[in-house]
Amino acid sequence: MNAPVPNEPPPEDIILRAHGLVKEFDGRRVLDGVSFDVKRGEVLVIMGGSGCGKSTTLRILIGLEKLNGGRAWLFGKEISQASEKEFNALRRRFGVLFQSGALFNSMTVGENVALPLQQHSDLDENIIQIMVRMKLEMVGLTGFEHLKPSEISGGMKKRVGLARAIALDPELVFYDEPSAGLDPVVSAVIDELILDLKNKMGITSVVVTHHMDSAFKIADKMVYLYQGRVLAYGTPDEIRNSDDPIVQQFIRGEPDGPIPLKTSRDVYLQTLAGFADERIDKT
Protein backbone atom coordinates (compact mmCIF):
# COMPACT_ATOMS: atom_id res chain seq x y z
CA MET A 1 0.00 0.00 0.00
CA ASN A 2 2.85 2.30 0.89
CA ALA A 3 6.56 2.17 0.14
CA PRO A 4 8.08 -0.29 2.60
CA VAL A 5 10.04 1.21 5.48
CA PRO A 6 13.77 0.87 4.74
CA ASN A 7 16.10 -0.72 7.27
CA GLU A 8 18.33 2.31 7.72
CA PRO A 9 18.51 5.45 9.88
CA PRO A 10 15.73 7.77 8.75
CA PRO A 11 16.17 11.25 7.28
CA GLU A 12 15.82 14.32 9.53
CA ASP A 13 12.08 14.84 9.02
CA ILE A 14 11.16 11.30 10.15
CA ILE A 15 10.91 11.66 13.93
CA LEU A 16 10.22 7.98 14.53
CA ARG A 17 10.89 4.93 12.42
CA ALA A 18 9.98 1.34 13.27
CA HIS A 19 11.38 -1.40 11.09
CA GLY A 20 10.32 -5.02 11.50
CA LEU A 21 9.66 -4.89 15.25
CA VAL A 22 9.48 -8.32 16.86
CA LYS A 23 8.41 -8.95 20.45
CA GLU A 24 7.91 -12.25 22.23
CA PHE A 25 6.46 -12.93 25.67
CA ASP A 26 7.41 -16.36 27.04
CA GLY A 27 8.07 -17.61 23.51
CA ARG A 28 4.73 -16.28 22.21
CA ARG A 29 5.19 -13.82 19.37
CA VAL A 30 2.96 -10.78 19.89
CA LEU A 31 4.65 -8.47 17.37
CA ASP A 32 5.88 -9.90 14.11
CA GLY A 33 7.52 -7.38 11.82
CA VAL A 34 5.82 -4.08 12.59
CA SER A 35 7.09 -1.19 10.44
CA PHE A 36 6.04 2.44 10.01
CA ASP A 37 7.42 5.96 9.76
CA VAL A 38 6.21 9.04 11.62
CA LYS A 39 6.94 12.40 10.01
CA ARG A 40 7.51 15.47 12.17
CA GLY A 41 4.22 17.30 12.74
CA GLU A 42 2.06 14.30 11.76
CA VAL A 43 -0.51 12.33 13.73
CA LEU A 44 -0.04 8.59 13.33
CA VAL A 45 -2.87 6.39 14.56
CA ILE A 46 -2.21 2.78 15.46
CA MET A 47 -5.43 0.79 15.46
CA GLY A 48 -6.51 -2.78 15.76
CA GLY A 49 -8.59 -5.12 17.91
CA SER A 50 -7.70 -5.68 21.53
CA GLY A 51 -4.69 -7.91 22.09
CA CYS A 52 -3.25 -7.23 18.63
CA GLY A 53 -0.14 -5.61 20.10
CA LYS A 54 -0.87 -1.86 20.04
CA SER A 55 0.21 -1.16 23.60
CA THR A 56 3.23 -3.42 23.23
CA THR A 57 4.36 -1.43 20.17
CA LEU A 58 4.01 1.77 22.17
CA ARG A 59 5.83 0.36 25.21
CA ILE A 60 8.76 -0.67 23.02
CA LEU A 61 9.03 2.78 21.49
CA ILE A 62 9.02 4.53 24.87
CA GLY A 63 11.61 2.14 26.27
CA LEU A 64 9.46 0.16 28.71
CA GLU A 65 9.93 -3.13 26.85
CA LYS A 66 12.98 -4.51 25.08
CA LEU A 67 12.87 -5.50 21.42
CA ASN A 68 13.44 -9.12 20.43
CA GLY A 69 14.09 -8.20 16.81
CA GLY A 70 13.88 -5.37 14.33
CA ARG A 71 15.08 -1.82 14.76
CA ALA A 72 13.55 1.50 15.73
CA TRP A 73 14.86 5.04 15.58
CA LEU A 74 13.53 7.81 17.80
CA PHE A 75 14.79 11.34 17.05
CA GLY A 76 17.41 9.67 14.87
CA LYS A 77 18.77 7.53 17.73
CA GLU A 78 18.46 3.76 17.44
CA ILE A 79 16.63 2.76 20.62
CA SER A 80 18.11 -0.69 21.11
CA GLN A 81 21.59 0.90 21.01
CA ALA A 82 20.72 3.63 23.53
CA SER A 83 22.03 3.30 27.07
CA GLU A 84 19.66 4.08 29.95
CA LYS A 85 21.19 7.52 30.18
CA GLU A 86 20.82 8.25 26.48
CA PHE A 87 17.25 6.99 26.59
CA ASN A 88 16.50 9.30 29.50
CA ALA A 89 17.74 12.18 27.37
CA LEU A 90 15.26 11.10 24.66
CA ARG A 91 12.50 10.86 27.27
CA ARG A 92 12.74 14.57 27.94
CA ARG A 93 11.79 15.15 24.31
CA PHE A 94 8.60 13.07 24.33
CA GLY A 95 5.57 12.78 26.59
CA VAL A 96 3.28 9.83 27.24
CA LEU A 97 -0.39 9.75 28.11
CA PHE A 98 -1.17 6.38 29.64
CA GLN A 99 -4.45 4.58 29.29
CA SER A 100 -5.56 5.28 32.86
CA GLY A 101 -3.88 8.69 33.02
CA ALA A 102 -1.34 7.26 35.50
CA LEU A 103 -1.48 10.30 37.77
CA PHE A 104 0.42 10.00 41.03
CA ASN A 105 -2.35 9.49 43.52
CA SER A 106 -0.39 10.83 46.47
CA MET A 107 0.05 14.22 44.77
CA THR A 108 -2.42 16.92 43.82
CA VAL A 109 -3.25 17.72 40.21
CA GLY A 110 -0.93 20.72 40.32
CA GLU A 111 1.94 18.73 41.83
CA ASN A 112 1.51 16.08 39.14
CA VAL A 113 1.93 18.61 36.36
CA ALA A 114 4.75 20.39 38.20
CA LEU A 115 6.79 17.23 38.78
CA PRO A 116 8.53 16.98 35.38
CA LEU A 117 9.30 20.70 35.49
CA GLN A 118 10.75 20.51 38.99
CA GLN A 119 12.82 17.46 38.15
CA HIS A 120 14.08 18.40 34.71
CA SER A 121 14.35 22.16 34.60
CA ASP A 122 16.13 24.79 36.67
CA LEU A 123 13.08 27.02 36.66
CA ASP A 124 12.14 29.00 39.72
CA GLU A 125 9.21 27.54 41.69
CA ASN A 126 7.07 30.59 40.86
CA ILE A 127 7.69 30.18 37.14
CA ILE A 128 6.84 26.49 37.48
CA GLN A 129 3.51 27.37 39.09
CA ILE A 130 2.73 29.73 36.22
CA MET A 131 3.59 27.01 33.70
CA VAL A 132 1.41 24.50 35.55
CA ARG A 133 -1.50 26.94 35.23
CA MET A 134 -0.82 27.42 31.53
CA LYS A 135 -0.75 23.68 30.87
CA LEU A 136 -3.93 23.10 32.87
CA GLU A 137 -5.54 25.99 31.03
CA MET A 138 -4.68 24.29 27.73
CA VAL A 139 -6.61 21.17 28.73
CA GLY A 140 -9.44 23.26 30.17
CA LEU A 141 -8.82 22.54 33.84
CA THR A 142 -7.87 25.84 35.45
CA GLY A 143 -8.71 25.95 39.13
CA PHE A 144 -8.32 22.22 39.75
CA GLU A 145 -4.70 22.41 40.98
CA HIS A 146 -5.48 21.54 44.56
CA LEU A 147 -7.63 18.48 44.00
CA LYS A 148 -6.31 14.95 44.39
CA PRO A 149 -6.67 12.53 41.44
CA SER A 150 -9.20 10.54 43.47
CA GLU A 151 -11.46 13.60 43.54
CA ILE A 152 -11.79 14.10 39.77
CA SER A 153 -13.47 12.12 36.98
CA GLY A 154 -11.81 9.72 34.55
CA GLY A 155 -11.94 12.21 31.70
CA MET A 156 -10.38 14.90 33.84
CA LYS A 157 -7.62 12.51 34.91
CA LYS A 158 -6.75 11.93 31.27
CA ARG A 159 -6.66 15.66 30.60
CA VAL A 160 -4.39 16.19 33.61
CA GLY A 161 -2.26 13.32 32.31
CA LEU A 162 -2.03 15.16 29.00
CA ALA A 163 -1.10 18.42 30.73
CA ARG A 164 1.66 16.54 32.54
CA ALA A 165 2.80 14.84 29.29
CA ILE A 166 3.24 18.21 27.58
CA ALA A 167 4.71 19.99 30.62
CA LEU A 168 8.21 19.98 29.19
CA ASP A 169 7.03 21.07 25.71
CA PRO A 170 7.83 17.75 24.03
CA GLU A 171 8.24 17.33 20.27
CA LEU A 172 6.33 14.06 20.30
CA VAL A 173 3.48 12.70 22.42
CA PHE A 174 2.38 9.07 22.67
CA TYR A 175 -1.22 8.29 23.63
CA ASP A 176 -2.47 4.86 24.70
CA GLU A 177 -6.22 4.67 24.08
CA PRO A 178 -6.89 8.32 24.97
CA SER A 179 -10.65 7.94 24.57
CA ALA A 180 -11.18 4.48 26.07
CA GLY A 181 -13.81 4.56 28.78
CA LEU A 182 -14.82 8.17 28.14
CA ASP A 183 -18.16 9.53 27.00
CA PRO A 184 -18.37 10.78 23.39
CA VAL A 185 -18.14 14.44 24.36
CA VAL A 186 -15.01 14.05 26.46
CA SER A 187 -13.36 11.87 23.85
CA ALA A 188 -14.14 14.52 21.21
CA VAL A 189 -12.46 17.06 23.51
CA ILE A 190 -9.36 14.89 23.66
CA ASP A 191 -9.33 14.57 19.87
CA GLU A 192 -9.52 18.36 19.63
CA LEU A 193 -6.59 18.68 22.01
CA ILE A 194 -4.48 16.33 19.92
CA LEU A 195 -5.26 18.35 16.80
CA ASP A 196 -4.61 21.62 18.66
CA LEU A 197 -1.19 20.43 19.73
CA LYS A 198 -0.44 19.53 16.13
CA ASN A 199 -1.77 22.70 14.51
CA LYS A 200 -0.73 25.30 17.07
CA MET A 201 2.52 23.86 18.35
CA GLY A 202 3.61 21.43 15.66
CA ILE A 203 3.67 18.53 18.11
CA THR A 204 3.88 15.07 16.53
CA SER A 205 1.54 12.42 17.94
CA VAL A 206 1.38 8.64 17.96
CA VAL A 207 -2.10 7.59 19.04
CA VAL A 208 -3.24 4.06 19.86
CA THR A 209 -6.97 3.67 19.58
CA HIS A 210 -9.75 1.40 18.51
CA HIS A 211 -12.32 4.19 18.14
CA MET A 212 -12.82 4.49 14.41
CA ASP A 213 -14.50 7.91 14.45
CA SER A 214 -11.72 9.61 16.31
CA ALA A 215 -9.05 7.68 14.38
CA PHE A 216 -10.28 9.02 11.04
CA LYS A 217 -10.78 12.49 12.48
CA ILE A 218 -7.24 12.98 13.76
CA ALA A 219 -5.00 10.77 11.62
CA ASP A 220 -2.59 11.85 8.93
CA LYS A 221 -1.35 8.27 8.64
CA MET A 222 -2.78 5.04 9.98
CA VAL A 223 -1.40 1.63 10.83
CA TYR A 224 -3.80 -1.27 11.13
CA LEU A 225 -2.37 -4.05 13.30
CA TYR A 226 -3.75 -7.55 13.18
CA GLN A 227 -2.27 -10.35 15.30
CA GLY A 228 1.04 -8.53 15.62
CA ARG A 229 1.40 -7.68 11.94
CA VAL A 230 0.76 -4.54 9.93
CA LEU A 231 -2.17 -5.34 7.69
CA ALA A 232 -2.56 -1.86 6.28
CA TYR A 233 -0.51 1.33 6.45
CA GLY A 234 -1.38 4.58 4.74
CA THR A 235 -3.44 7.76 4.76
CA PRO A 236 -7.04 7.64 6.09
CA ASP A 237 -8.32 7.59 2.52
CA GLU A 238 -6.09 4.71 1.56
CA ILE A 239 -7.26 2.77 4.62
CA ARG A 240 -10.91 3.55 3.90
CA ASN A 241 -10.49 2.24 0.38
CA SER A 242 -8.44 -0.76 1.41
CA ASP A 243 -9.56 -3.95 -0.29
CA ASP A 244 -8.51 -6.08 2.68
CA PRO A 245 -11.69 -7.69 4.05
CA ILE A 246 -10.34 -7.74 7.63
CA VAL A 247 -9.63 -4.00 7.54
CA GLN A 248 -13.04 -3.33 6.04
CA GLN A 249 -14.79 -5.39 8.72
CA PHE A 250 -12.90 -3.52 11.43
CA ILE A 251 -13.54 0.01 10.22
CA ARG A 252 -17.21 -0.74 9.68
CA GLY A 253 -17.44 -2.53 13.03
CA GLU A 254 -19.31 -5.51 11.60
CA PRO A 255 -19.77 -8.60 13.77
CA ASP A 256 -19.48 -11.09 10.90
CA GLY A 257 -16.53 -11.38 8.59
CA PRO A 258 -13.04 -12.81 8.39
CA ILE A 259 -12.01 -11.74 11.94
CA PRO A 260 -12.45 -14.98 13.88
CA LEU A 261 -14.40 -14.10 17.01
CA LYS A 262 -17.36 -16.43 17.00
CA THR A 263 -16.90 -20.10 16.19
CA SER A 264 -19.23 -21.37 13.53
CA ARG A 265 -22.31 -23.31 14.58
CA ASP A 266 -20.96 -26.65 13.36
CA VAL A 267 -17.62 -26.29 15.11
CA TYR A 268 -19.46 -25.25 18.27
CA LEU A 269 -21.77 -28.28 18.19
CA GLN A 270 -18.86 -30.61 17.52
CA THR A 271 -16.80 -29.35 20.47
CA LEU A 272 -19.84 -29.45 22.72
CA ALA A 273 -20.56 -33.04 21.72
CA GLY A 274 -16.92 -33.99 22.32
CA PHE A 275 -17.01 -32.36 25.75
CA ALA A 276 -20.25 -34.13 26.65
CA ASP A 277 -18.82 -37.52 25.60
CA GLU A 278 -15.78 -36.98 27.77
CA ARG A 279 -17.89 -36.09 30.81
CA ILE A 280 -20.23 -39.04 30.31
CA ASP A 281 -17.25 -41.39 30.06
CA LYS A 282 -16.03 -40.17 33.42
CA THR A 283 -19.29 -40.80 35.25
Partner: protein
Amino acid sequence: MVKTIELIGRIFLDVIREIGGVATLLVETCYFAFVAPFRGEFPDRKNFGKQLVEEGIKSIPIVALLSFTVGLILAMQTAYNLRKLGAESYMPPLVAIATVRELGPLIASIIISGRVGAAIAAELGTMVVAEEIDALRCMALHPTRFLIVPKVGALLIMLPCLAMLADAASIFGAYAFGASALQMSAAKFRQFAFEYMVARDLWSGLLKAAVFSLLISGIACYKGITVTGGAEGVGRATTQTVVHSIFAIILVDGIFTAIFYFIFP
Protein backbone atom coordinates in the same frame (compact mmCIF):
# COMPACT_ATOMS: atom_id res chain seq x y z
CA MET B 1 8.16 -38.64 45.53
CA VAL B 2 9.35 -37.03 42.31
CA LYS B 3 6.64 -34.41 42.79
CA THR B 4 7.89 -33.63 46.29
CA ILE B 5 11.47 -33.20 45.09
CA GLU B 6 10.21 -31.04 42.25
CA LEU B 7 8.24 -28.92 44.70
CA ILE B 8 11.22 -28.50 47.03
CA GLY B 9 13.36 -27.59 44.05
CA ARG B 10 10.88 -24.98 42.90
CA ILE B 11 10.59 -23.44 46.37
CA PHE B 12 14.37 -23.38 46.63
CA LEU B 13 14.65 -21.56 43.29
CA ASP B 14 11.94 -19.09 44.31
CA VAL B 15 13.81 -18.32 47.53
CA ILE B 16 17.08 -17.81 45.65
CA ARG B 17 15.35 -15.58 43.11
CA GLU B 18 13.76 -13.49 45.84
CA ILE B 19 17.00 -13.10 47.79
CA GLY B 20 18.75 -12.11 44.56
CA GLY B 21 16.02 -9.62 43.69
CA VAL B 22 16.01 -8.01 47.13
CA ALA B 23 19.82 -7.82 47.19
CA THR B 24 19.94 -6.24 43.73
CA LEU B 25 17.33 -3.71 44.76
CA LEU B 26 19.25 -2.78 47.91
CA VAL B 27 22.51 -2.40 45.96
CA GLU B 28 20.69 -0.16 43.48
CA THR B 29 19.30 1.80 46.44
CA CYS B 30 22.84 2.30 47.78
CA TYR B 31 23.91 3.53 44.36
CA PHE B 32 21.14 6.10 44.16
CA ALA B 33 21.64 7.12 47.80
CA PHE B 34 25.43 7.49 47.84
CA VAL B 35 26.89 7.49 44.32
CA ALA B 36 24.31 9.19 42.10
CA PRO B 37 24.17 12.41 44.18
CA PHE B 38 27.78 13.04 43.16
CA ARG B 39 26.61 12.92 39.57
CA GLY B 40 23.92 15.48 40.20
CA GLU B 41 20.98 13.07 40.71
CA PHE B 42 19.57 13.67 44.16
CA PRO B 43 16.99 11.52 45.94
CA ASP B 44 13.71 13.25 46.65
CA ARG B 45 14.03 15.15 49.93
CA LYS B 46 10.38 16.06 50.34
CA ASN B 47 9.36 12.45 49.96
CA PHE B 48 12.00 11.46 52.52
CA GLY B 49 10.52 13.75 55.17
CA LYS B 50 7.07 12.35 54.49
CA GLN B 51 8.37 8.80 54.90
CA LEU B 52 10.03 9.64 58.23
CA VAL B 53 6.60 10.63 59.51
CA GLU B 54 4.63 7.82 57.87
CA GLU B 55 7.02 5.03 58.78
CA GLY B 56 8.42 6.32 62.06
CA ILE B 57 6.40 8.90 63.94
CA LYS B 58 3.05 7.28 63.25
CA SER B 59 4.36 3.93 64.54
CA ILE B 60 5.26 5.33 67.96
CA PRO B 61 1.97 4.65 69.78
CA ILE B 62 1.59 1.02 68.76
CA VAL B 63 5.26 0.18 69.33
CA ALA B 64 5.17 1.81 72.78
CA LEU B 65 1.95 0.15 73.82
CA LEU B 66 2.85 -3.36 72.69
CA SER B 67 6.39 -3.15 74.09
CA PHE B 68 5.04 -1.98 77.43
CA THR B 69 2.73 -4.99 77.49
CA VAL B 70 5.48 -7.40 76.55
CA GLY B 71 7.70 -5.92 79.28
CA LEU B 72 4.91 -6.49 81.78
CA ILE B 73 4.40 -10.09 80.67
CA LEU B 74 8.12 -10.80 80.65
CA ALA B 75 8.46 -9.39 84.18
CA MET B 76 5.66 -11.62 85.46
CA GLN B 77 7.05 -14.74 83.81
CA THR B 78 10.54 -14.04 85.09
CA ALA B 79 9.33 -13.28 88.61
CA TYR B 80 7.32 -16.52 88.61
CA ASN B 81 10.46 -18.51 87.92
CA LEU B 82 12.69 -16.53 90.27
CA ARG B 83 10.20 -16.87 93.13
CA LYS B 84 10.97 -20.60 93.34
CA LEU B 85 14.60 -19.67 94.04
CA GLY B 86 13.58 -16.83 96.33
CA ALA B 87 15.35 -14.41 94.00
CA GLU B 88 12.55 -12.23 92.71
CA SER B 89 14.72 -9.19 93.14
CA TYR B 90 16.79 -10.33 90.13
CA MET B 91 13.84 -9.72 87.82
CA PRO B 92 14.93 -6.20 86.72
CA PRO B 93 18.35 -7.05 85.26
CA LEU B 94 17.07 -10.21 83.57
CA VAL B 95 14.23 -8.41 81.87
CA ALA B 96 16.28 -5.31 81.03
CA ILE B 97 19.10 -7.22 79.38
CA ALA B 98 16.81 -9.57 77.45
CA THR B 99 14.91 -6.53 76.27
CA VAL B 100 17.74 -4.40 74.96
CA ARG B 101 19.62 -7.31 73.44
CA GLU B 102 16.66 -9.05 71.93
CA LEU B 103 13.05 -8.27 72.53
CA GLY B 104 12.93 -4.52 71.98
CA PRO B 105 14.43 -4.65 68.48
CA LEU B 106 12.54 -7.85 67.62
CA ILE B 107 9.12 -6.57 68.69
CA ALA B 108 9.62 -3.21 67.01
CA SER B 109 10.71 -4.95 63.79
CA ILE B 110 7.80 -7.38 63.73
CA ILE B 111 5.28 -4.59 64.32
CA ILE B 112 6.92 -2.51 61.61
CA SER B 113 6.92 -5.32 59.09
CA GLY B 114 3.16 -5.57 59.56
CA ARG B 115 2.52 -1.84 59.64
CA VAL B 116 5.11 -0.34 57.32
CA GLY B 117 6.23 -3.30 55.18
CA ALA B 118 2.66 -4.11 54.18
CA ALA B 119 1.94 -0.44 53.43
CA ILE B 120 5.03 -0.08 51.24
CA ALA B 121 4.21 -3.22 49.23
CA ALA B 122 0.60 -2.15 48.77
CA GLU B 123 1.53 1.39 47.75
CA LEU B 124 4.19 0.36 45.22
CA GLY B 125 2.06 -2.50 43.91
CA THR B 126 -0.88 -0.19 43.34
CA MET B 127 1.42 2.21 41.52
CA VAL B 128 2.58 -0.61 39.24
CA VAL B 129 -0.99 -1.61 38.44
CA ALA B 130 -2.04 2.00 37.76
CA GLU B 131 0.92 2.48 35.35
CA GLU B 132 2.34 5.13 37.71
CA ILE B 133 5.74 3.42 37.77
CA ASP B 134 5.77 3.34 33.96
CA ALA B 135 4.88 7.02 33.97
CA LEU B 136 7.81 7.77 36.30
CA ARG B 137 10.18 5.89 34.01
CA CYS B 138 8.85 7.83 31.02
CA MET B 139 9.62 11.07 32.83
CA ALA B 140 13.21 9.83 33.16
CA LEU B 141 12.71 9.48 36.92
CA HIS B 142 14.11 6.20 38.20
CA PRO B 143 11.60 4.58 40.59
CA THR B 144 14.44 3.49 42.86
CA ARG B 145 15.76 7.01 43.22
CA PHE B 146 12.38 8.60 43.46
CA LEU B 147 10.39 6.13 45.57
CA ILE B 148 12.58 3.45 47.08
CA VAL B 149 15.56 5.40 48.41
CA PRO B 150 13.35 7.61 50.63
CA LYS B 151 11.48 4.58 51.99
CA VAL B 152 14.56 2.47 52.70
CA GLY B 153 16.48 5.44 54.12
CA ALA B 154 13.67 6.58 56.39
CA LEU B 155 13.16 3.10 57.82
CA LEU B 156 16.89 2.65 58.35
CA ILE B 157 16.86 5.74 60.56
CA MET B 158 13.51 5.12 62.20
CA LEU B 159 13.63 1.44 63.13
CA PRO B 160 16.63 1.72 65.52
CA CYS B 161 14.87 4.70 67.13
CA LEU B 162 11.69 2.69 67.47
CA ALA B 163 13.73 -0.18 68.91
CA MET B 164 15.09 2.19 71.57
CA LEU B 165 11.57 3.30 72.30
CA ALA B 166 10.52 -0.34 72.57
CA ASP B 167 13.41 -0.96 74.99
CA ALA B 168 12.31 1.91 77.17
CA ALA B 169 8.61 1.02 77.09
CA SER B 170 9.28 -2.62 77.83
CA ILE B 171 11.57 -1.86 80.77
CA PHE B 172 9.00 0.57 82.02
CA GLY B 173 6.44 -2.24 81.80
CA ALA B 174 8.70 -4.40 83.94
CA TYR B 175 9.03 -1.55 86.41
CA ALA B 176 5.26 -1.15 86.53
CA PHE B 177 4.99 -4.78 87.59
CA GLY B 178 7.96 -4.56 89.95
CA ALA B 179 6.60 -1.47 91.68
CA SER B 180 3.07 -2.74 92.09
CA ALA B 181 3.55 -6.47 92.79
CA LEU B 182 7.06 -6.67 94.22
CA GLN B 183 7.11 -3.30 96.00
CA MET B 184 10.34 -2.19 94.30
CA SER B 185 11.18 1.48 94.51
CA ALA B 186 12.05 3.33 91.32
CA ALA B 187 15.57 4.01 92.50
CA LYS B 188 16.21 0.41 93.40
CA PHE B 189 14.71 -0.86 90.15
CA ARG B 190 16.79 1.51 88.08
CA GLN B 191 20.02 0.76 89.88
CA PHE B 192 19.48 -2.99 89.70
CA ALA B 193 18.21 -3.12 86.11
CA PHE B 194 21.21 -1.35 84.65
CA GLU B 195 23.91 -2.65 86.97
CA TYR B 196 24.83 -5.62 84.78
CA MET B 197 24.13 -3.99 81.44
CA VAL B 198 27.07 -3.11 79.20
CA ALA B 199 27.05 -0.74 76.26
CA ARG B 200 27.41 -3.65 73.88
CA ASP B 201 24.05 -5.06 74.94
CA LEU B 202 22.44 -1.89 73.73
CA TRP B 203 24.26 -1.34 70.47
CA SER B 204 24.11 -4.97 69.38
CA GLY B 205 20.33 -4.67 69.68
CA LEU B 206 20.26 -1.43 67.71
CA LEU B 207 22.56 -2.85 65.05
CA LYS B 208 20.13 -5.72 64.64
CA ALA B 209 17.25 -3.27 64.29
CA ALA B 210 19.13 -1.48 61.50
CA VAL B 211 19.69 -4.77 59.65
CA PHE B 212 16.06 -5.79 60.16
CA SER B 213 14.95 -2.48 58.69
CA LEU B 214 16.80 -3.31 55.47
CA LEU B 215 15.16 -6.75 55.39
CA ILE B 216 11.70 -5.23 55.79
CA SER B 217 12.06 -2.34 53.33
CA GLY B 218 14.02 -4.45 50.84
CA ILE B 219 11.46 -7.25 50.78
CA ALA B 220 8.50 -4.83 50.75
CA CYS B 221 9.88 -2.71 47.91
CA TYR B 222 10.85 -5.76 45.87
CA LYS B 223 7.44 -7.38 46.33
CA GLY B 224 5.65 -4.13 45.53
CA ILE B 225 7.62 -3.22 42.43
CA THR B 226 7.34 -6.73 40.94
CA VAL B 227 3.57 -7.00 41.29
CA THR B 228 1.78 -8.60 38.35
CA GLY B 229 -1.87 -9.42 37.90
CA GLY B 230 -3.85 -6.40 39.04
CA ALA B 231 -5.48 -5.87 42.41
CA GLU B 232 -5.20 -9.55 43.30
CA GLY B 233 -1.45 -9.34 42.76
CA VAL B 234 -1.23 -6.38 45.14
CA GLY B 235 -2.98 -8.39 47.86
CA ARG B 236 -0.65 -11.31 47.32
CA ALA B 237 2.44 -9.09 47.46
CA THR B 238 1.26 -7.50 50.70
CA THR B 239 0.69 -10.80 52.46
CA GLN B 240 3.95 -12.24 51.19
CA THR B 241 5.84 -9.17 52.36
CA VAL B 242 4.68 -9.62 55.94
CA VAL B 243 5.24 -13.37 56.02
CA HIS B 244 8.63 -13.27 54.29
CA SER B 245 9.98 -10.36 56.26
CA ILE B 246 9.01 -11.83 59.63
CA PHE B 247 10.60 -15.10 58.53
CA ALA B 248 13.76 -13.29 57.44
CA ILE B 249 13.92 -11.25 60.65
CA ILE B 250 13.73 -14.27 62.91
CA LEU B 251 16.21 -16.24 60.83
CA VAL B 252 18.75 -13.41 60.71
CA ASP B 253 18.16 -12.71 64.40
CA GLY B 254 19.11 -16.30 65.17
CA ILE B 255 22.29 -16.00 63.14
CA PHE B 256 23.20 -12.69 64.80
CA THR B 257 22.55 -13.96 68.30
CA ALA B 258 24.66 -17.04 67.64
CA ILE B 259 27.51 -14.90 66.29
CA PHE B 260 27.40 -12.64 69.33
CA TYR B 261 27.19 -15.60 71.69
CA PHE B 262 29.87 -17.87 70.21
CA ILE B 263 32.27 -15.65 68.29
CA PHE B 264 32.25 -12.30 70.10
CA PRO B 265 31.11 -13.28 73.60
